[in-house]
């Protein structure tokens, strides 16, 4: 139980995927300018990550390991993730049009989101079991959403500031992210021992 808690806190705060491992930067830079889209993207990502963790775990241990074809890890993972996102998108479109309106557009972006593949890779590297993997996926998604929403809040405020021309756009977002990363470093004492 303690382990699961550690994995959870670790993924959300201490080793946040965006601020510590730089996974999910593309959508982070692109979507974090508005609060609503950040919430939408965050929820979509959390949902897909949890599902992806479960499914890639099954694929890895029940097929790749069983048949000793671990070298197909990257090919299989990316195909599984891409298909999963595709299926989720179709599913949501069909069964919940309002949900699709809110989240649907972000889903295709998620496939090339390093975060999902990164999640699968870490899960294998750290040899998490099924439950740990799903929690890890869920927590990672939450961590991503947390940072995205925080950044959106900051960016909406920054819209009223006078930013030097060369820094407008990506540079100031990156520097802000750096400061956020500094702040998150404070969490590192949380899971000691």
């Amino acid at each position: 139980m303690k382990e699961i808690f550690l994995i959870f806190i670790g993924a959300v705060l201490v080793n946040n995927f965006v601020l510590s491992y730089f996974l999910g930067i593309c959508p982070f830079l692109g979507v974090s300018n508005r609060l609503e889209s950040s919430l939408g993207m965050g929820m979509a990502v959390t949902f897909v990550m949890s599902l992806a963790a479960a499914i890639t775990w099954l694929f890895y241990y029940l097929i790749l390991v069983r048949f000793h074809i671990e070298f197909l890890e990257y090919v299989v993972f990316i195909l599984v993730i891409a298909s999963l996102v595709q299926i989720v998108e179709m599913f949501i479109k069909k069964y919940s049009p309002p949900l699709y309106q809110a989240l649907g557009i972000y889903l295709p972006l998620i496939t090339t989101n390093c975060a999902i593949l990164g999640l699968a890779l870490f899960m294998v590297l750290r040899q998490y079991n099924f439950v740990q993997s799903v929690i890890f996926g869920f927590a990672t998604g939450l961590g991503f959403m947390l940072v995205l929403v925080a950044m959106a809040g900051i960016r909406e405020e920054m819209d009223f500031s006078d930013i030097p021309a060369a820094f407008k756009g990506a540079p100031i977002v990156l520097i802000t992210a750096g400061i956020l990363a500094l702040a998150f470093m404070g969490f590192s004492g949380l899971i000691s021992g």
Partner: protein
């Protein structure tokens, strides 16, 4: 007809990919395993320079290396200890004397701790501390200079990394002692 073509292209591509990868993987497998073995061997000789002969033995699921000097006397044992540090996995080769009471030395063969802080566990001064350290009841660390013979000094500003090394060692040493002295 169109669907047939789609499925065929996907199938062929996947098969070619799987074939190429299985080829490359099997070609490289031996080499990758050798790299691992070589790294461990190098580390063993660093940990116990007096060892002239190393004998690998798999006991109770754990690979333990018996170390002999030039005259064929047993001088101790070496084994791999691994676990998580502040940032990623730490792999340590640890040498124990033949009575399993003192450490001959340690060598860190893999770590990805914070550069400038935790990474100092790879420094010679930190690793040298472990030579001759008593392992009973357990190794401890302290932030000031060590006073007991089972105590080492942590890297300043990197308590978590230092603590991880100590914990990883304690855990594995207990395990090895149980195997070799049931």
């Amino acid at each position: 007809m169109k669907y047939f073509r789609i499925v065929l292209v996907l199938l062929v591509t996947s098969l070619i990919s799987a074939f190429c990868l299985s080829l490359v993987s099997s070609l490289a497998k031996a080499r990758i395993e050798n790299n691992e073995k070589a790294a461990i061997e190098r580390a063993i000789y660093v940990v116990a320079p007096a060892a002239k002969k190393v004998e690998e033995k798999l006991t109770a699921g754990k690979t333990i290396y018996k170390l002999y000097d030039g005259q064929g006397n047993l001088i101790g044992y070496a084994f791999l200890a691994k676990g998580y540090g502040y940032q990623g996995e730490i792999k340590i080769i640890c040498g124990l004397d033949k009575n399993l009471e003192k450490i001959l030395g340690i060598e860190i063969i893999a770590s990805s701790e914070t550069p400038g802080l935790g990474a100092h566990i790879n420094d010679n001064w930190f690793k040298k501390q472990f030579r001759g350290i008593k392992v009973l009841p357990r190794i401890v660390y302290s932030k000031r200079k060590s006073r007991q013979d089972n105590e080492i000094q942590a890297v300043s500003g990197a308590t978590i990394s230092s603590r991880s090394v100590v914990e990883i060692l304690n855990k594995e040493i207990t395990k090895v002692r149980k195997i070799l002295q049931p």
